[in-house]
Symmetry: C2
Subunit: 460 residues, 2 copies
C-alpha cells in the first residue's frame, strides 16, 4: 500500500510539473499572438482570419488524432486557445468592436421611449402581430382560475397540449416527442445549450435571427457563418457547407420561412443540406416559427424523419400570441430528454394557464392572419418596386428585407426614420455583411405601412 | 510590406509548432491521469479528491499569475484539463456513479403515475399549496384578453409590477433593481449562470434545495458544501466557511426560512456570514421564497444593503401561485443587467398575463395562508413528538424534516409509504449526508396530514 502511495505521489508531482509546462507554453503562445496582432495592425489587417484559423485547426486536429487524443476534447481546448488569441490580438490593435450592434429589440426600446414622450411611432421594427389572439383563448383565460389550472405541470408540458401538437404536425410524431417551452426562444436556447459544448461549432446561415448566435456565445461554442446574398436569391450553396465544416461542427441551424428575408428553400437545396448533415452526423435545428405564414411550398424538417433533427415552432406568430410565451420543440426522445433537463433546471415548467391558452388556440384557424400578412407584404413589395429598391419577394414570414441604395448605411437610415416617427430594424442586426439592408415588418395596418414607406422614400 | 508578410508567416509557423507542443503535453497529462486512475482503482480510492484538486488549482494559478496570464482564462483552461482528467480516470475505473438521486420531483412524478392507475395519494412530497390563488387574480385573468395584455414586455418585466414589488420590500429598492423572472427558479438560474464561470466555486449550505447544485453543474462551476446537522439545530458555523473558501470562490447561497428544515438563521450567525462575504468580495444569493411563511424573526439580505447581495423571491408559495411561474430578483443595477441578458437570450420576457396576475395578487394579504400553514406545521410537529421522532420545530417555510430511527434509510421509507398511498420526499434529495431524513410538506389539509403521519408511524 505504501508503494502505491508513493507511486501516486510521484505521478501527481509529474502531473503538476507538466501542467505548469502547459501553462507556460500557452503564455508563450499568447505572446506570439500579440506580435501577430501588432503586425496586423501595422498592415491594417483584420484580426479574424477564418481561413488561417481553419488551417491551424485542421493541422492541429490531424496531429492530435495521430497521438490518439479525443478529438472532441482537443477541439474544445483548441477553441479556447483560439478565442483567447483573438482577444489578445484585438487588445493589441486597440480594436474597437464594431460599435454595439443595433438589433430590432434595441430599436423597439428606443421607439417605446420616444412614444413615452408623446410622439407616435409606426412600428415596422418588431415581429409582433398587431391583430388579436384567437377568441377561444379569452374563455380559457377566464376559466383557468376556477379550474385551478395554475399548478406545476410535467417539465415537458401538459399531455393534452403535447398530444394536440403531435396531431397537428402529423408525420408520426408522438406526444412524448414534443416539449412545450417558454416561447420558441427557450426551445432554441435549450437545444443549443444542451446539445453543444464549449468549443463545439454551429453553422448558421446569414442573414439570421440574432438569437442563435447569442445562445452559441453563451455556451462558449463557436458560430460559423454561411453568408447568402440577395443576388443569389438568399440561397446557400452546398459547397459553402463543405468549406466551413470542421471536426468540431455539431449543428446546423435552418430558419425557413426566413427571418429577415422571407425566403423558403427550394426542395433541392434543402435535400442537399439534410444529406450533408446526415453524412457528417450533425444536428439540424429547424426554426419553423413562421411556417404558418408560408405562401409557397414549405417542407418541415419533420418530413425527413431525421434522428438528429429538431423542429421548433411557437404560438407567437401564427396565433398572434407573443406575450403568452408558448413555443415547442419536436425531436427524438433522447434529444427531448436532454432539453427537458435544461428546462427543469432553469424554470421547472411553462405557466399552466398559458399552456391551456395555447391548447384553445389550436382549435382555431390561422387562415385570416395569413391572408392579412400576405396582403400587407404585397403592398410593401409593390411600394418598394415603385421606389426601385431591390429585394426578393417573400415566400413567407412577416418581413421584407430590401437593399438600400448604396452610399447610405442601415443605422443612418434607421435613425433618420425614427426621427420621422417610423421604426424599422437595421439589416446588420442579422449579420455583419448586411449594412445596406433594413428589415420591414408587416405587423402594422396597411395605411401605416404605406405611410412608413412614403417616409422611407424621402430619406434614401 | 513583403518583410511584414514574411514576419507574419514566421510567427504563424511558430504558433503552430507551439500549439502542437501544447497538445502533446496535454496528451501526456492525460496518460498520467490514466495511470493515477488505475492506481486509485487498485487502492479502492474515489476519483474525485477535492483537497488534491484544490492544491493543484492553487499552485497552478499562482505560477500563472507570476507570468502575467489572465487568471480568468487560466482558471477556465485549468478547469477543462481537470474535468477531462476526472473523465479519463473514471473510464479507467469503470466507475459507476452513485445511483441516480431521488428528488421530491421524481417522487411527485411517481405519485402521479400511481394516481393515474386509480389509487389515491396523499401528497406530502411537494411544496405546492393546495389552497387557491388570490381572488383578484381571477378578474385579471379574465380581463387580460380584452386589455390585450399578452405582448412582449421589457426583459425585466412590466414597470407596474417591478414598482409594486419595490414598494412592498421597502429598503429603498428602486423599480429598476427588480427583475421579474419565470419563477424563483429562473432568478436562481440567471444569477448563477451570469455571475459564475466554469471553474468558479459556489458555497451552499446543506441540506439544500437541489436547484442550486443543478445550476452550478450546468455552468461547469463547482459546488462546495457546508453540512449542517439537526443536533446543531441546522446552524452553520463561520469556521466552516473559512475552511472551505478558495481563490475561486465567488458566491454563497443562503435559503432561509429553509427548505427543507424550516430553519431561520439567528441574527448573529447571519451577520457573521454577511461580513465574511464582504471580507472576501463574494456574491450572496439569498433565496427568500418562504419569507411570507416566517413565524420567527426573519431578516432579508436587503436589510444589509450589500452591493453583491441578490434577493430572490416568488409568488409561488406565499400567494399559492406555483403554476403562474412568476418570481423575481432584487439586486444592484449592474447585477440585474447581467441577469437580464440571460433572460433576454433564453426567453425574451415573462408571459404578460402572468405578470398582471402577480400584480393583482400583491393587493391581497397572505395572512390566511400563513396561519393555515403554521397550524398544519404545529399538527405535524405534535404528531412527530408523540412518535418520539427527532426534528427541529420549523421557524418558517412549509416543511418538517424529521430524522428517522436509525437502521432505516430514506429511500426504503419513501417506497414503503408510496405503496401505502403517501408521498414524501427523501432526505437525501437535499444532500448526500441526509439519508436518515424525510421531508414532509404541509401542503395538504389537516386530516390528510394526520392520515399520512399515522401511516408513517406504521412503517418505521
Amino acid at each position: 500500500m505504501n508503494d502505491k502511495n508513493e507511486e501516486l505521489e510521484g505521478l501527481r508531482r509529474e502531473i503538476r510539473s507538466i501542467t505548469t509546462d502547459i501553462i507556460l507554453r500557452v503564455q508563450k503562445r499568447m505572446e506570439l499572438s500579440k506580435q501577430i496582432g501588432k503586425i496586423k495592425a501595422q498592415m491594417n489587417m483584420n484580426v479574424m482570419d477564418e481561413k488561417v484559423e481553419q488551417d491551424v485547426r485542421n493541422s492541429i486536429l490531424e496531429s492530435s488524432k495521430e497521438v490518439g487524443m479525443d478529438p472532441d476534447f482537443c477541439g474544445r481546448l483548441l477553441n479556447i486557445l483560439l478565442i483567447e488569441s483573438v482577444r489578445v490580438q484585438k487588445n493589441q490593435q486597440q480594436f474597437k468592436d464594431v460599435a454595439h450592434r443595433q438589433t430590432h429589440m434595441n430599436i423597439f426600446t428606443m421607439a417605446k421611449q420616444i412614444e413615452a414622450s408623446g410622439k407616435n411611432i409606426i412600428h415596422m421594427e418588431i415581429g409582433e402581430p398587431d391583430y388579436p389572439a384567437p377568441q377561444n383563448v379569452k374563455r380559457v383565460l377566464s376559466e383557468s382560475y376556477d379550474l385551478r389550472h395554475y399548478h406545476y405541470t410535467e417539465t415537458t408540458g401538459i399531455k393534452e397540449l403535447r398530444q394536440a401538437i403531435a396531431n397537428k404536425v402529423g408525420n408520426h410524431v408522438a406526444a412524448d416527442q414534443v416539449m412545450i417551452t417558454v416561447g420558441a426562444r427557450f426551445a432554441v436556447f435549450s437545444a443549443i445549450v444542451s446539445l453543444l459544448k464549449a468549443g463545439d461549432e454551429l453553422i448558421s446561415i446569414e442573414p439570421a435571427w440574432p438569437a442563435y448566435k447569442e445562445c452559441v456565445n453563451f455556451i462558449g461554442s463557436k458560430n460559423k457563418v454561411i453568408e447568402t446574398t440577395l443576388e443569389e436569391n438568399w440561397r446557400p450553396n452546398i459547397t459553402q457547407f463543405e468549406e466551413i465544416i470542421s471536426a468540431n461542427t455539431k449543428m446546423i441551424v435552418l430558419n425557413y420561412p426566413n427571418n429577415p428575408t422571407g425566403k423558403i428553400l427550394d426542395d433541392n437545396t434543402l435535400n442537399k443540406i439534410i444529406q450533408f448533415a446526415k453524412d457528417h452526423d450533425l444536428y439540424i435545428l429547424s426554426d419553423e416559427v413562421y411556417s404558418d405564414y408560408a405562401f409557397n411550398g414549405f417542407k418541415s424538417i419533420l418530413e425527413y424523419n431525421y434522428d438528429k433533427g429538431i423542429m421548433i415552432s411557437s404560438f407567437s406568430k401564427g396565433y398572434a400570441m407573443t406575450g403568452f410565451r408558448v413555443g415547442y420543440a419536436i425531436a427524438k426522445d433522447d434529444i427531448i430528454a436532454q432539453m427537458a433537463k435544461i428546462q427543469a433546471t432553469a424554470l421547472t415548467s411553462v405557466a399552466e394557464p398559458m399552456q391551456y391558452s395555447a391548447l384553445a388556440a389550436l382549435e382555431e384557424s390561422t387562415a385570416e392572419n395569413v391572408k392579412r400578412i400576405k396582403k400587407r407584404l404585397d403592398i410593401v413589395s409593390d411600394k418598394l418596386r415603385k421606389m426601385s429598391i431591390s429585394f426578393t419577394v417573400p415566400d413567407g414570414a412577416m418581413y421584407v428585407y430590401p437593399k438600400l441604395k448604396s452610399g447610405v448605411d442601415d443605422i443612418t437610415i434607421v435613425d433618420r426614420l425614427l426621427n420621422l416617427g417610423v421604426a424599422v430594424a437595421p439589416g446588420s442586426a442579422f449579420g455583419d455583411s448586411y449594412k445596406q439592408y433594413i428589415r420591414i415588418s408587416a405587423c402594422q395596418p396597411e395605411n401605416n405601412l404605406e405611410k412608413g414607406l412614403n417616409l422611407l422614400n424621402t430619406t434614401i
